[in-house]
Symmetry: C3
Subunit: 375 residues, 3 copies
C-alpha cells in the first residue's frame, strides 16, 4: 500500500515521498526497512526514531522530527487526533483471526440448528439444538452455543466462549476467549429472613441461613449490536426476563454482570468490574477497573466512576464518582487530602489543649512545655 | 397447569378463577394472554400490570391491585414471603438445560472411566482415566473431568467446567461454565527469606526474590453435596491434603479460593470474592461481592462481610464487618461519617487556633480577622 | 524410597531409622502407617501427631516431639527452612498430570503445524495453522493454540487454556485451566474527546462518548521461560508490539494484564490483580491479592504492594505500598490509626470549643456544662 493511500484512509496528509510502499505498521524499535511504517504519534515513540531503521513514519500534528533524521525519514503521515488515527491505522493493518469458511467436519452442529451458508464453524465448536448462526458469523474452536441461542450476523466468538441457551446476540458482537454469557443468576433464598436481611436492617446478625434454596433463572441475556464481552467475563441471565446490554457497549475482561442488570448503549466497563443483580446503568457510562456496583442501584447516563470504587447508591447522570463508598470526585479528593493531613491535625489539637490548659487550668497539663507550633 | 395447582405447589392461596390454565411465568411486560402468569410480587412490578396483557398474576399478601384491573385480572395467587415463593415458582417453570441420555459418540471417555448408565456425556466432553461419573449426572459439551476425579450423583457440569485430577464432587453439585476446580496452588518459595517476609515483619524490603521455587500441589479439592461453583470461578487444590467446601455452600462467578482453604456449610461467597491460602471459614458465612480475605485467617460462623471489604484478621462468629481493613460495621460507619465531616473539623481547628492566639498571643496570627463560626 | 534418600534430596538429616521405606507424603491426620511420611513442619501440624498413625515424620530444626511419641515415631527428617524443604518434598512426591505421548487421534492439528515428536497433544486439543509445539510440551484436552503461536519446550497447557495467534511462550511455562493469553486489548476511542478525558482533566463530564471506535490489536504476547499464568487469568496482546512477561514471573488466578504491559522477571502477581494498559513493572515485584494498577504507571523492582491496594502513581524500587490510593506503608498505617481515633478527635474539638467559649465568649455556648476530659 502506498503511503498516500494510508493517509487517505486516515483523512491525514503526507509530507515527503508519498509513493513509499508499506507492508506493515510497527513500533519504531521494530522497523526493519522502508516497508515498515513506524508509529510515532507521541513523544516517547518519537524519541525512539533516531535508533530505528524507520524510513516512513506517522507523527502527530505539530511534532518536530529530531534534526538528525533529516534525509533518513523519507515520508511521514501527519495526523490530528493520534488516538483516533491509531484506530484507523489498525483497521488498515488489521490481522484478522484465522477462520475457514463452512462447518468443519470435526464440529458438532445439532441437526435442527441453522448455520448461515457463509458462516464459519471451527473444529470442536458445538452448536446446540435450534440455535441459529447468522450470516458471516465466525465460531472458533471450543465455542459452545447452547440450544435456541441466536448469534447475529458478523459476530465473532473466540475460543472457549460459552453462549447459554436462548441467549440472543445482535450483529457484529465480539465474545472474547472463555467469556460466559447466560449463566444462572446467583440467587438463593432462606425460608425465614436470613443473616443478610438482618445485617442490612439492624447491623447485626439475627437470623441464620440454615438452608439456601435455589432461585432458578428462566430468563435470558440479550446483547445489542456491536457489543464486546471480554475474556473470562461472565454475564448472568435474568431470573424471569432478560439481562440486557445495549448497542455498542464494551465490556472488558473478567467483568461480572449479575442477573436482571440493564445496561444502556456505548458504555465501557473495564477489567474486574462487578455489577450486582437488577442494577440499571444508563448510556455511555464508564466504570473504570475493579469498580463494584451494588444490586438495585441506578447509574445515570454519561456518569464516570473511577477505578476501585465501590458504588452503593444511585449516581446521577454526567457525574464523576470515586472512592469506597463512592462519592462525587471533589468530595473524595477532599477526603484523601484530609486523610493525608490527619497526623498534623492530631498534633494541632494536642497543642491547642496544652495552650488552653495554660489559660484556663482545665484538662490535663501538657507532658512537655508548650511551644506553639508555627504553621 | 391450573392456577390452583401452582398455588398448591407454593403453599399459597388463589383469589378468583383458580381453573385458569397456565403455560409460562413471565414478567408483567411480557404477558401475552391468559396462559401467561405475570409475576408481580413487588410494587414496581405491580405498577406495570395496567399496561400488561396479564389475566393471571402472582402478588404479595396485602398488595392492592390497581382498581382499573378489576375484571381484567381474573385470578391471582397470593403469597406470603415473595422471594421464597419466587423460588417455588421457578421450580415449577424451570427450563432445564438440554442434555441427551448416554455418552455421545463425539465425547471422549477413557476406557477405565466409569460412567453411570443414566448419566449424560455431551459431545466434546472429556472423561479421564479412572474418573467416575455418578447416577444422573450431566456433563455438558467441552467439560474436562481429570483422571481419578469423582462426580457425585445428579451433579451438573456446565460447558467448559474443568474438574482437576482426583477432585471429588458430592451429590447435586452445579459447576457453572468455565469454572476450574482443582488448580495448582499459587505457592512459591525463595531460597532465602524474600521481600514479602521482610515487608511483613519490618515494613521494608530487605531480601529480594532472586528465584521463585515452585511448591507443587499434591492435594485435591473436595466439594460436599449441593455445592455450586460460579462461572469462571477458580478453586485451587490443597498442597498436601484437600481444599474443602461444605454441603450447600454457594460460590458465585469469578471467585478465587486459594489452596488449603476450608469452607463450612451453607456459605454464600459473592462475585469476585478472593480467599487466600489456608484460611478457614465457618458455616453460613456471607462474603459480599469483591471481598478479599488474607491467608491463614479464621472467619466465624454466621459472619457477614460487606461488599469490597478487605479482611486481614480473624472475624468472630455472628459479626458484621466492613471496610478496608475490615472492622465491625458500626466502627466502619463511624469512620465514614468522620471522613465526611473532616473538612469541617479542619476549619474548626483553624478557627480555634485564631481565637486562642487572640487570648494567649501564641502561635501564628490568623490570616484574616477572627469570626467565630456558629455551628 | 528410603527416608535417607528423601533427606538427601532435601539436603537435610535423619534422626532414628533412616531405612524406613516411604510411599507417600501426607498431612499428619491422613497418615495410615509406616509408608506414609507425615509432614509436621509447624507447631499446628506437630500438635496433630499424637492422634496420628505416623511413624516417619518431617519436622523443623529445633522442634520438640511430644514425649508420648517416643518409640512411636521411628524416624524423622529434620529440615532447616521448612517452606523451602516443602518445595523439595513436593518435588519428590509430585503427582504429574496424566498425559499420553503423541498426538491423540481426537485432537486437531493443522496440516502445517509442527509438533515435536515427544510432545503430547490430548483429545479435543486444537493446534492451529503454522503453530509450533516444542519438545516435551504437554497440551491437555480442550486447549486452543492459535495460528502461528509458539509453545516452548517442556511447557504445560492445562485444559481450556487459550493461546492466541502469534503468541510466544518460552520454555517450561505452565498455563493453568481456562487462562487466556493473547486477547485483544480493551481499547476504544471516541471521534471527539470523550467523558473520561474531560473527567481526568476537569473533574467533570464534558464530552460524551457517542461512538466507541475499536482500536484493533495487531501485537502479540511474549512470555519468557518458567512463566506461570493462573487459572482464568487473562493476558491481552499489545496494540502494535508485544505485551511481555519476563522469565520466572508467576501470575495467579483471575489476574488481568492489559495491552502493552511490560513485566520483568521473577515477579509474583496474586489473585484478582489487575494491571491496566502500558504499565511497566520491574523485576521481583510482588503485587498481593486484588491490587489494581492504573495504566501507564511504573513500578520499580522489588517493590511490594499490599492486598486490595489501588495504585495510581509510580512506585519506587524496593518500596512497600498500600491503600487506596496506595501510599508508602508507614503513611498508610498512620492514616488507618488516624481514622480509628477520629471519633475521639471530634470530641476533643467540641470540648476545646466549649472551654474557649468560657474564656473568650465567642462561638456557640456549649450544649452542656464544660467538663474537661482527662486524657
Amino acid at each position: 500500500m502506498k503511503l498516500s493511500e494510508i493517509a487517505a484512509a486516515l483523512d491525514a496528509r503526507v509530507e515527503g515521498d508519498e509513493t513509499i510502499m508499506i507492508r506493515r505498521a510497527v513500533h519504531p524499535s521494530e522497523a526493519e526497512g522502508p516497508e515498515d511504517l513506524a508509529l510515532a504519534m507521541d513523544k516517547d515513540l518519537l524519541a525512539l526514531l533516531p535508533g530505528s531503521k524507520a524510513v516512513a513514519v506517522v507523527v502527530a500534528e505539530g511534532a518536530e522530527l529530531p534534526p538528525e533524521l533529516t534525509g533518513i525519514i523519507r515520508g511521514r503521515i501527519v495526523v490530528k487526533r493520534p488516538r483516533y488515527a491509531m484506530a484507523g491505522l489498525l483497521d488498515v493493518f488489521e490481522k484478522p483471526v484465522h477462520a475457514e469458511p463452512g462447518i468443519h467436519p470435526q464440529a458438532y452442529v445439532a441437526p435442527d440448528a441453522v448455520v448461515a451458508e457463509d458462516a464459519s464453524v471451527a473444529p470442536f465448536a458445538y452448536i446446540g439444538p435450534r440455535a441459529r448462526i447468522g450470516a458471516g458469523a465466525v465460531v472458533l474452536p471450543h465455542v459452545t452455543v447452547g440450544a435456541d441461542a441466536v448469534i447475529g450476523e458478523g459476530s465473532l466468538l473466540h475460543p472457549g466462549a460459552r453462549i447459554g441457551e436462548r441467549v440472543v446476540l445482535g450483529a457484529r458482537c465480539i465474545i472474547h476467549p472463555n467469556a460466559a454469557v447466560g449463566n444462572d443468576g446467583f440467587s438463593f433464598v432462606t425460608p425465614e429472613p436470613g443473616s443478610v436481611e438482618s445485617a442490612k436492617t439492624t447491623g447485626r446478625v439475627v437470623g441464620t441461613n440454615v438452608l439456601l434454596r435455589r432461585v432458578n433463572s428462566i430468563g435470558t441475556v440479550i446483547l445489542g449490536d456491536d457489543v464486546e464481552i471480554g475474556a473470562g467475563a461472565t454475564i448472568d441471565r435474568g431470573t424471569v426476563t432478560a439481562t440486557r446490554i445495549g448497542n455498542g457497549t464494551k465490556i472488558d475482561n473478567l467483568v461480572q454482570i449479575g442477573h436482571n442488570v440493564q445496561i444502556g448503549t456505548n458504555c465501557m466497563l473495564c477489567g474486574h468490574v462487578g455489577v450486582a443483580g437488577s442494577t440499571v446503568i444508563g448510556d455511555r457510562v464508564v466504570l473504570a477497573g475493579k469498580v463494584g456496583v451494588a444490586d438495585h442501584v441506578k447509574i445515570g447516563s454519561d456518569a464516570v466512576v473511577a477505578a476501585n470504587s465501590g458504588v452503593g447508591t444511585d449516581i446521577p447522570a454526567k457525574s464523576v464518582y470515586m472512592g469506597y463508598p463512592a462519592v462525587p470526585r471533589a468530595r473524595a479528593f477532599e477526603q484523601y487530602k484530609g486523610l493525608a493531613r490527619l497526623k498534623r491535625l492530631f498534633a494541632d489539637v494536642v497543642d491547642l489543649k496544652a495552650r488552653l490548659h495554660a489559660v484556663d487550668g482545665q484538662g490535663k497539663a501538657p507532658a512537655k512545655p508548650v511551644v506553639a507550633e508555627q504553621d
